[in-house]
């Protein structure tokens, strides 16, 4: 674990990422999001599908240019550096992709996939790279022979582990895990999550863990942020958030978590949300959740609520609080 526990390692300030999807249409995928991640910490990010989690993660990685706002790594703004410098930055932060099938180039061997980052950054000699590839393969629970194979010969879980090996190859300090488990089935999900936790313990990595499986997020994260339509609506330590959700959306979410226990599950009272998720294209002003919130007041559909610290360490964005 890191020794400077309280200093923010990554600072996201008023990050916005809009996509232009037509002449007059702007899709506000991430709209004014701010948070920090400490070194060695795991921040979970949950929310409805399409609410902007992936976009947020990729913008933090610098894979998308931010529309506005800052992403500070140790105080350096990622979006202000360009060209070669920026490419070098790739060594600090890496990403594990959502889809283990799409994120591996089908025409490259696993060895090449894993060593690509080292090739790009000219790390080590050929033999050293080879050695590192073998080490990584073993670290993620595969074996050496697998280096000369092609991705299509692997199962989803194995592929996801190749993706993890690729991210680890250039010794990053920070990894964005973009739903690394949602494409896998339960027994393999557990394998991957166990691995991530082990690596964090051993290497002191920092994670941004994106998922919509709330139980899994709770399991792995120190703190959890809840997103809704591009906004961060709640942010709190995981135990606190699950025990005591404040935002109406978070509440609904928590109540809807299906529990693998028929007695509990059938007895449980769910908050059923009315209506559909509005479109993120040209969203109306005001709280994004207002249209589905049964407590919504007039104010909610006019003014966008700020994310405020309601309790120590527990932030929420709602006019009702």
């Amino acid at each position: 674990m890191s020794n400077e526990d309280n200093k923010a390692y990554i600072e996201v300030k008023n990050l916005k990422k809009y996509f232009k999807v037509g002449r007059h249409a702007t899709l506000k995928a991430v709209d004014d999001v701010s948070f920090t991640i400490k070194k060695g910490e795991t921040l979970g990010l949950v929310g409805e599908s399409g609410c902007g989690k992936t976009t947020c993660g990729r913008t933090i990685m610098g894979l998308y240019e931010a529309t506005s706002g800052q992403v500070l790594y140790d105080g350096v703004d990622l979006h202000s550096i360009k060209g070669e410098e920026r490419r070098k930055f790739a060594r600090k932060a890496q990403i594990i992709f959502q889809d283990p099938y799409a994120s591996l180039d089908p025409r490259m061997t696993v060895g090449n996939i894993i060593s690509e980052g080292m090739d790009i950054h000219n790390i080590g000699t050929k033999e050293e790279r080879q050695k590192k590839v073998y080490e990584l393969l073993e670290m993620v629970g595969l074996n050496r022979e697998h280096a000369s194979r092609f991705p299509h010969e692997f199962s989803g879980g194995q592929r996801q582990r190749i993706g993890i090996a690729r991210a680890l190859a250039i010794d990053p300090e920070f990894i964005v895990c973009d739903e690394p488990i949602s494409a896998l089935d339960v027994s393999i999900q557990a394998q991957v999550v166990n691995l991530l936790i082990k690596l964090q313990r051993e290497l002191g990595l920092t994670y941004l863990f994106i998922a919509h499986d709330l139980s899994m997020v709770k399991h792995i994260s120190d703190r959890v942020g809840v997103m809704y339509l591009g906004h961060l609506v709640e942010l709190a330590p995981s135990e606190e958030l699950y025990a005591n959700p404040l935002h109406p959306y978070t509440k609904a979410l928590m109540s809807a978590i299906p529990l693998p226990d028929p007695n509990v599950s059938k007895a449980k009272k769910r908050i059923i949300l009315e209506g559909d998720v509005p479109s993120p294209i040209n969203p109306k002003p005001g709280c994004r959740f207002a249209s589905r919130c049964k407590y919504a007041k007039k104010e909610c559909s006019e003014v966008n609520p700020e994310l405020k610290e309601v309790k120590p360490g527990h932030f929420a964005a709602c006019h009702l609080l």
Binding site: L63, R87, F97, A102, R107, G117, I170
Partner: protein
Amino acid sequence: MELNEKSFERLSSEEKHSDEIVRPAISYWADAWRRLKKNPIAMISLVVLIISILLAIFGPYLVKYKFDAQDYKVLDNRPSAAHWFGTDNLGRDLWARCWVGARVSLYIGFVGTLIELIIGCIYGGICGYFGGAVDLILMRVIEVLSSIPYLIVVILLLLVLPKGIGTLIFAMCIMGWTGIARLVRGQIMQLKNSEYVMAAQALGSKPMRIIIKHLLPNTLGIIITYMSMDIPAYIFEEAFLSFLGLGVQPPKTSLGALVSTGQGVMTNHPYQLFIPCSIICIIVLAFNVFGDGLTNALDPKQRQ
């Protein structure tokens, strides 16, 4: 089945895996080749292609006549034991001429396609990958090029440059590459949003590296289909130019030139048209069918 004590002993972890079926480590290409081999029709066309290529190389030497040796004693003779494919109006042996012609045609087809492929892939790759203004401008260039009558450009180049097959290929390529550039661009526009491309970006890859290492190899299937149609297209193109008298210059010849000569004497000496035409047909057919098979074999969706 006999059950005994031993049956219910625990397995050690090695024993568990002892008979787990591990697929043999087989490379992507070997895998594709294996699948191709299982497609009889593709294999037949491959054999036909190889035979055609061999004949184009060695065929003319199987007879004692030179392809341009005239013999006025045997004008327009039908196929016979002496002249397997007959002779033409100047008494030249058609077997030798056909295979010399096939050599030229195949050469034009292969080289033309190769050049076109290189230009088209890079151009299309750049258009597709960068998109935006770069794409807009580069695509206009293609649009302009494909609007100019092909003949004007070919004639112009044939006039300006020294005569020869090189010039001919160059002239054909200069307009031909736009098709493949379009195709590659379309493919790459789709592929560039793939996560593996983004993964490469995240690792700090430069754009050219991404295009060459990731994007182009993944368009291979479609490029091969295109190639299998393009090589014949070049053979035709040359035939068309030969019909207009712009093709290969005598005394050299090509399948196209032979067909266009044969067409003139169709009523009286049909074999002079029929033979070279059949050779073109067979080669083209083989290319097409083989290309079809190859695409199937390379298609990741068909992989197991």
